[in-house]
């Protein structure tokens, strides 16, 4: 079993290579070689494909890719290599179940299969989206914790402390990360869900020092939370990330590795991006010692995961992972459009459908490409979770038809999406519900979804 010291030894003694050579001549070249060898092909007519051989080929090709290119340590400029036996052992030993949370909110996060009726693990919130103040932060997290389907929280990221904009790896970031932990727990407490796990610990902590500082138990983080560490694309790691791994392992919390291969980036088109996405799952088990995975593949141009090609990437990744392993995987989706727009809700419905019917769980979501401060509300994750619960168990051909109908509602607008309204203009914090205008958008959305065969909970009020 590959452990942290093995990773470090290989980071110090592996084959030296420049970063550029690793990315362009090793990783990118091998991805395309495997895509050709396994004849992996994107079909625009099937954004949610129904092809078992594709899932098998992607999985096999991903194992070979990890063995061929390993991971890359940017601090030592060396390749961290793994044998086929080590990769397969890591896949076999990956946990299929994790007990998360405390008390009434304790629940098992379990792996799913294609067409599984088990509802997806719903990690709901902002996906690390930027938020301008403690007040917005609390409003959002209270709202997320009140969603009935919420199994775990993904918090926003604070951008200011004491009126000052956070600077990386500075005391402001350390203080911001500590505040992130305290406020997240407080917000859950305020709505009676104190035991709910926070699984993006901690979005404000980009540096290793802020991460380590904020995980001190006095700030409320627990080993039943999820300790998330982001991988550098493609398949890269540095000492700061490995420092986070060392800290998280010592605290006993399950590490989730998040990674966002870009369609159009080093892995190329949809086929290479799906392959890279699957391979990152395996690399994360080894290099980042992760117990669960958080893929968030994005379209480089649209910075979202709702375009036709992206649905295919999400679905084919899900089918490859869930069809060939028990790796716990939660797909984080981004929309192009913003809150209070129908498009945003259709976009998240499409990606959630692709993920859930293909055997993945969901983290929802980054709204309006997660670009703007406070441009997210508790409504979008709630709709995502409701859709996720309803489509669990749906067969792939039916999911494909649904996805195509949803795409028809927004595909033409994805290059110039409506950005909607910020939190303060479409969410009533005192009443803990959307404004009348947004409620109307939601009701109309639910009516349309019912027309497509997806009957969501009747909207209150």
């Amino acid at each position: 079993m590959v452990q942290l010291l093995d990773v470090m030894q290989r980071a110090l003694e592996g084959a030296p290579m420049s970063e550029s050579d690793y990315q362009l001549r090793s990783f990118a070249a091998k991805v395309q070689e495997k895509v050709r060898e396994y004849k992996i092909k994107y079909d625009p007519a099937s954004p949610i494909p129904n092809d078992r051989s594709l899932a098998k080929d992607l999985f096999e090709a991903a194992i070979e890719l990890v063995v061929d290119v390993g991971a890359y340590c940017t601090d030592t400029s060396r390749v961290i290599s793994y044998t086929e036996g080590e990769v397969k052992e890591a896949i076999r030993n990956a946990p299929s179940r994790l007990r998360m949370g405390e008390g009434r909110n304790q629940k098992d996060f379990v792996s799913r299969k294609v067409g599984d009726k088990t509802p997806p693990w719903c990690l709901l919130g902002a996906g690390g989206g930027a938020c301008s103040s403690d007040t917005s932060f609390l409003t959002l997290v209270e709202g997320y914790a009140e969603i009935p389907e919420t199994d775990a929280i993904t918090t926003p990221a604070l951008t200011r402390v004491g009126g000052m904009r956070i600077r990386p790896a500075s005391p402001l970031e350390v203080l911001g990360a500590m505040r992130n932990a305290v406020l997240a727990r407080e917000a859950c407490n305020r709505v009676g869900r104190e035991g709910i796990p926070i699984m993006n610990s901690l979005s404000t902590a980009e540096s290793d020092i802020a991460f380590a500082a904020a995980l001190h138990p006095k700030y409320g983080m627990r080993r039943s939370d999820g300790y998330m560490i982001c991988c550098m694309d493609p398949m890269k790691v540095d000492f700061a990330r490995l420092n986070k791994v060392a800290v998280a392992l010592s605290l006993g919390g399950p590490i989730g590795m998040c990674f966002g291969p870009l369609l159009g980036g080093y892995a190329g088109g949809p086929e290479g991006t799906a392959l890279s996405n699957v391979a990152h799952h395996m690399m994360g088990l080894l290099t980042y010692q992760a117990s669960w995975m958080l893929p968030f593949p994005l379209h480089l141009r649209y910075v979202s995961s709702s375009s036709r090609e992206m649905l295919w990437v999400v679905s084919s990744t899900g089918q490859a992972i869930s069809g060939n392993s028990d790796i716990l995987s939660v797909n984080l989706n981004y929309t192009s459009a913003g809150p209070c727009t129908p498009m945003c809700l259709y976009e998240t419905s499409a990606t959630v459908t692709a993920a859930v019917t293909s055997g993945l769980s969901i983290e929802s979501l980054g709204v309006a490409s997660n670009r703007y401060e406070d441009r997210t509300t508790p409504v979008e994750p709630r709709m995502s979770a409701e859709v996720g619960h309803v489509v669990a168990g749906m067969k792939l051909p039916d999911a494909n038809e649904l996805a195509k109908k949803l795409l028809a509602k927004y595909e033409s607008k994805i290059k110039t999406p409506p950005l909607g309204k910020p939190l303060q203009e479409c969410w009533d914090a005192d009443k803990r519900r959307p404004t009348t205008e947004y409620s109307r958008v939601v009701k109309s959305f639910k009516k349309e979804m019912a027309g497509l065969g997806v009957k969501l909970r009747p909207e209150e009020g």
Binding site: R167, P168, A267, N370, R371
Partner: protein, 215 residues
């Protein structure tokens, strides 16, 4: 081989992403006593522009764009020293990097290579670059433009630090300062006093063209 044959050799090397072939073609320019400036303008520029367009149209992806730019650089390493200093090859020099504390490089790499494809000289400072280094390098290289990328909401503050640095040194007017990256917006660019926001590669190129002759 005549001029056109050598120009084609240069262009083909870029179009096939082949640095070795590009270097050899450039050496052929020297051997054949062909005007190096004309060789760049007629051989390299059309090829790299075509690669840039293909990337914009998503016919090719980031690795091909970067390999084509590398091939172009291999040829330029041979040809540029032969061109008299009073003859201008590039539109302007752009100093670019990812801000301090941020190690994300894909967006920055795309812009670097698209700038090269559009006739700019690029000084790529890499990632996690101190604010003062942007300014020092811009001074040293005679750049007209400084570009700073940031992908995290916790790191965009460093873009403001660069503006502060330039202002405190009395050099704000000397360089156009452009920002880009995931959490940046037009409003943010205005708030910190940047000259523009490269929302995407075409916008970044438009802004670079606008400020190629200075601010």
């Amino acid at each position: 081989m005549d001029d056109k044959g050598v120009w084609k050799q240069l262009g083909d090397a870029v179009l096939s992403y082949d640095s070795e072939a590009a270097k050899k073609a450039a050496q052929n320019v020297v051997k054949s006593k062909i005007d190096p400036l004309r060789a760049i303008e007629k051989g390299l520029f059309p090829a790299i522009e075509s690669v840039g367009q293909k990337y914009e149209d998503m016919e090719i992806y980031l690795p091909e764009l970067m390999l084509a730019a590398e091939a172009m650089k291999s040829a330029l390493d041979v040809l540029l020293p032969l061109i008299p200093k009073d003859q201008k090859v590039s539109k302007a020099t752009v100093v670019i990097g990812t801000v301090q504390g941020d190690i994300h490089e894909i967006g920055k790499n795309i812009i670097c290579n698209m700038l090269i494809a559009n006739g700019f000289t690029v000084v790529d400072l890499g990632v996690d670059v101190k604010s003062s280094v942007f300014v020092e390098e811009a001074r040293k290289t005679g750049a007209k433009i400084i570009g700073a990328s940031a992908l995290m909401s916790s790191t965009i503050g460093s873009q403001k630090d660069i503006v502060d640095f330039l202002s405190s040194m009395g050099e704000r007017k000397k360089f156009a300062f452009l920002v880009g990256g995931g959490p940046t917006t037009g409003e943010w660019a205005s708030e910190i006093g940047a000259d523009g926001w490269g929302e995407d590669a075409p916008t970044a190129i438009r802004l670079a063209n606008k400020y190629a002759k200075g601010r």
